[in-house]
């Protein structure tokens, strides 16, 4: 399960490559990544859209919330359609809560939590999970750590036990710490082979020079090299405290049953007592530079240049989040409906995909426009992107564009209600950011309430393309002369 709410997601899959593992099947298929008129009757595309059938967010009575006496929140969403369950625990601190010099600690801790817990060592835990066909995931996000276990409901006892072991009793063996560190360092080195990864790293560093957000989620070679199992153990103890966490279940399990299991495995009677959660490490926000800066990461062998135009954004809890999202959907967040896609792909054939979006985090995360094109076209691409961003400031979303963007967001929200696991993920996300419990119920109305004046203000106040970081990964020899005049150019090695 993701810690990010599905309702925040735009169609990022349009042009992204699969991750390192499971490459084979991903490589065997190619997506288009755009991602008859009837006699005597007007075609459906000429008619106004019928009113959206608004499914309830959850079925009546299916959702239960309880708080245990140690402060742990318990959430369950019953859905008996299939004999499977998704169980999990989310703690409200993540990679963003440590100093830049400790970058990578949250990811390292997550990995070590999978390498042995309770009476089982790393291999024993892996076997216990695999034997019942279950999936164990431990994820470190910027603002939260999440453990989920998915499997068949007939294995509920084993699944609950695994969840409790991993959350409460990870072993943090020193030998596993050595192995996990080696793997994390190797992963960072491999990231240099992936142009999109390099572009993301360089953008973060340019926008947040002294902030944790300026380092990769998985850390840097310097910060990871000094990590050991004891560091992970201490971080785990600070983060996984009951009054800072939520335990949840969706699927084929009743509310009373889950409440009882939660009390037994995670309540104060299990020895998990309330403790103050670690404070956030305060970090300075992104600076808005006086002028654009250009960073070129040199990969002489590439034929394609990866381009990011980045700047500071807004936080997850910002009052203008929905207006900003609607404005962004018009600009570059809604696939073929967006202005940038029309400009750089449909009209110019410069790229296979372009996407823009805010990274909504506890503190304002970056706002990024991301694309790629053949290296000799990089200047035309950058100019089109900048003029597209300026365009939405000078010519803000029209009534018609805003109506389409709203219908896009509301429709996406409707799709996200298909599975109980994705609904629950959204509810947990609200908990992470301390947002009202009824936020999903009111979401569609809040989207519809946004006015043209709001998206106009969002475009005017939040975007500053002439003072952004322009990051390009590709052959510097070709790129640097083409990027002249945009701002000072810095060339870096991967």
């Amino acid at each position: 399960m993701r810690s990010a709410a599905p309702i925040q997601m735009a169609s990022a899959g349009l042009f992204q490559m699969a991750g390192a593992a499971r490459v084979w099947l991903a490589l065997s298929l190619l997506a288009v990544a755009p991602g008859c008129g009837l006699l005597g009757q007007r075609p459906a595309w000429e008619l106004p859209p019928p009113p959206a059938r608004e499914a309830p967010v959850v079925q009546p009575g299916a959702l239960q919330r309880v708080t245990l006496d140690n402060g742990l929140r318990v959430l369950s969403l019953e859905d008996r359609r299939l004999p499977r369950v998704v169980l999990g625990v989310t703690a409200r601190r993540g990679a963003g809560s440590v100093a830049p010099s400790d970058a990578g600690l949250a990811s390292f801790t997550a990995e070590l939590m999978k390498r042995g817990a309770g009476r089982r060592d790393a291999l024993g835990l892996a076997r216990a999970v695999d034997e019942i066909g279950a999936t164990l995931q431990v994820g470190a996000g910027w603002d939260s750590m999440t453990v989920t276990v998915t499997g068949l409901s007939r294995d509920l006892d084993r699944l609950t036990e695994i969840l409790a072991d991993v959350v409460r009793r990870p072993r943090f063996d020193a030998g596993e710490g050595e192995k996990a560190r080696g793997q994390q360092l190797a992963g960072l080195e491999q990231g240099k082979d992936q142009p999109a990864t390099l572009a993301g790293w360089a953008t973060a560093r340019a926008l947040y020079p002294d902030h944790r957000y300026g380092r990769p989620l998985e850390g840097t070679p310097e910060s990871v090299a000094k990590l050991g199992a004891a560091d992970a153990k201490a971080f785990h103890a600070r983060v996984f405290v009951p009054d800072n966490a939520i335990v949840f279940a969706s699927g084929d399990v009743g509310a009373d049953d889950w409440h009882e299991r939660a009390r037994r495995h995670f309540g104060s009677e299990s020895g998990w007592s309330a403790a103050p959660a670690a404070p956030e490490t305060p970090s300075p926000p992104a600076e808005v530079p006086a002028q654009a800066t250009v960073v070129v990461v040199d990969r002489p062998d590439l034929g394609q240049a990866h381009v990011v135009i980045g700047q500071g954004g807004i936080s997850r809890t910002s009052d203008v989040r929905i207006s900003a999202q609607l404005m962004n959907d018009v600009l570059g967040g809604s696939g073929f409906s967006s202005r940038l896609m029309a400009s750089v792909r449909s009209d110019e054939g410069l790229t296979y995909g372009v996407h823009s979006g805010f990274a909504f985090r506890r503190q304002p995360g970056p706002y990024r426009v991301v694309t790629f094109t053949r290296a000799p076209e990089v200047r035309r691409m950058v100019d089109l992107l900048i003029s597209g961003i300026e365009g939405i400031q000078q010519d803000p979303p029209s009534e018609d564009e805003l109506a389409k963007a709203k219908s896009y967001l509301v429709g996406r929200f409707g799709l996200s209600l298909e599975t109980s696991a994705s609904v629950l993920a959204s509810l947990v996300d609200l908990d992470v950011y301390g947002l009202p419990d009824d936020s999903l119920d009111t979401y569609r109305a809040r989207v519809r309430a946004v006015q043209v004046a709001d998206t106009t203000a969002a475009a005017r106040d939040l975007l500053h393309p002439r003072r952004s970081a322009i990051v390009v990964v590709g052959p510097a020899e070709t790129l640097v002369p083409l990027l002249e005049g945009l701002g000072p150019v810095e060339v870096r090695q991967p």
């Binding site: 288009v32 595309w45 959206a52 291999l123 999970v129 192995k179 410069l350 053949r374 219908s407």
Partner: protein, 448 residues
């Protein structure tokens, strides 16, 4: 020609089911229109969404003159028709929050829309419009060609994994059209013509070569009527051209090296394996699980966890309509030896060949496959894909009970036998994607 209204046949699914898992596909209705279009409908009012998928039985294996044409054409399906502007189809669906995309493989081309229920009528009309009235012009082809070339750079030319994948297919399949990359060779994409696209469209985008699957929140009768109205007037083709399936014997190991500026080399190994529907398929699936599924799997344990030589390591059975491969794929850790990773791969396989697998491992693999089947029922999209894929590949939907039975009947001896039979050194093709040597641009390639 306008074909009659009534669908020719309504075929109910078989009623066998595993006692443990109810198979929603049992409620599926299969309808064949008079023009040969197959429509699979599975109404499920418990979900607020509906997945519409159009599976066209044409892939890169069917291309004649230009490689990459099936995929390029898939892109052209978004470039407008008589009544729809370029990309307007995708815009109309996305403006309602719908997910729309398409993909091309060696065997099929698939178009899909996942939408909330009220948008299904729009989707049906849009799909029928482009199949009936697609408009391919020099101008739209010129710009989309560039888009596809960017896709090729992204996925293949600038990607170590993409390089490995392209090279291993070309190496393992000498004579079969499966050897070509789905995205095509660059020169072919650059040269493909409007006329070639039009001919391709006429030959393959005919109702008797298409399967439509609709799963989710809709009314079956209403939807079938609409599909009949929209698609029923399309003319079927008398004959659909197919390339001969040329599978030549492999006599000895084949090796190839690709130089690329990288830090983590990629190793790809492939062995010939049977095509989809072979009696050994279930045993090969169990073998895949034992090798790759989860952290207790043999490849993860050996290469990633114990030897710490690989970032990831996986192997599995890849079944196509006319052939198959069993593959092994690893990302080599920066600084580690690719020779050692290759030896470790073979020692994992040889161990199974000589010592077999335990009953416990087989039981674990079966359970994983069972859970995968259940997970495939979670979304309307996954369910629609399953019924359409089965229909395209096997002419019917295999009930879950049948698949579970096939999995349950696999023995440890079966797993050992298929690994012994198929994963032999002389049936092996090996690709290494490695950094070029510091002195000079290329090293001589190892021969066969």
């Amino acid at each position: 020609m306008v074909l009659g209204i009534a669908w020719a046949a309504v075929v109910p699914m078989g009623s066998q089911a595993s006692p443990a898992i109810e198979d929603p596909a049992e409620r599926m209705r299969k309808t064949e229109l008079e023009n040969g279009l197959t429509v699979l409908t599975l109404e499920d009012r418990s979900t607020p969404v509906v997945s519409f998928q159009m599976w066209v039985k044409v892939g890169s294996k069917d291309e004649a003159r230009f490689t990459g044409l099936a995929h390029l054409f898939e892109h052209m399906m978004f470039k407008g028709s008589k009544s729809i502007e370029p990309e307007e189809h995708a815009r109309l669906v996305q403006a309602r929050g719908g997910r729309i995309n398409a993909f091309t493989s060696r065997d099929v081309t698939v178009y899909f829309e996942d939408v909330t229920a009220e948008s299904l009528p729009l989707v049906i009309e849009l799909e029928a419009e482009r199949v009936a009235n697609l408009d391919i012009s020099e101008k739209t082809l010129a710009s989309e060609r560039q888009v596809v070339l960017e896709e090729r750079r992204l996925r293949t030319e600038d990607s170590p994994e993409g390089q490995a994948f392209e090279a291993i297919a070309a190496l393992a399949w000498r004579s079969n059209t499966y050897r070509r990359p789905v995205i095509g060779w660059r020169e072919d994409v650059e040269k493909a013509t409007v006329q070639a696209c039009r001919d391709f469209f006429q030959a393959y985008y005919v109702p008797n070569n298409i399967v439509i699957a609709v799963v989710g929140d809709f009314d079956t009768d209403e939807t079938l009527e609409q599909i009949e109205r929209s698609f029923g007037r399309l003319e079927p083709a008398d004959e659909i051209p197919r390339n001969p399936n040329r599978l030549s014997d492999q006599r000895g190991e084949r090796r190839s090296t690709v130089h690329f500026d990288l830090r983590a080399p990629v190793l790809a190994v492939a062995w010939h394996a049977p095509a989809a529907g072979h009696p050994d398929a279930a045993a090969l699936d169990v073998a895949s699980q034992i090798l790759s599924a989860g952290r207790s799997s043999r490849l993860y344990r050996s290469l990633v966890y114990e030897a710490q030589q690989a970032l990831y390591a996986e192997g599995g059975y890849w079944e196509l309509n006319e052939a198959g491969l069993f593959y092994a794929f690893a990302g080599v850790r920066p600084g580690a030896s690719i020779e050692r990773v290759e030896r470790l791969f073979y020692s994992v396989i040889e161990r199974i060949q000589t010592q077999g697998v335990s009953a416990q491992e087989v039981a674990k693999a079966k359970r994983q496959l069972e859970v995968d089947l259940v997970n495939g029922l979670v979304t309307t999209h996954a369910l629609a894909s399953r019924i359409a894929r089965d229909t395209v590949t096997f002419g019917r939907v295999r009930p879950l009970s049948e698949r579970l039975e096939a999995i349950q009947s696999v023995t440890p001896e079966d797993v050992q036998r298929v690994i012994q039979t198929y994963l032999t050194p002389d049936q092996r093709s090996v690709v290494r994607v490695i950094a070029p040597p510091p002195d000079g641009p290329s090293a001589p390639e190892a021969g066969e």
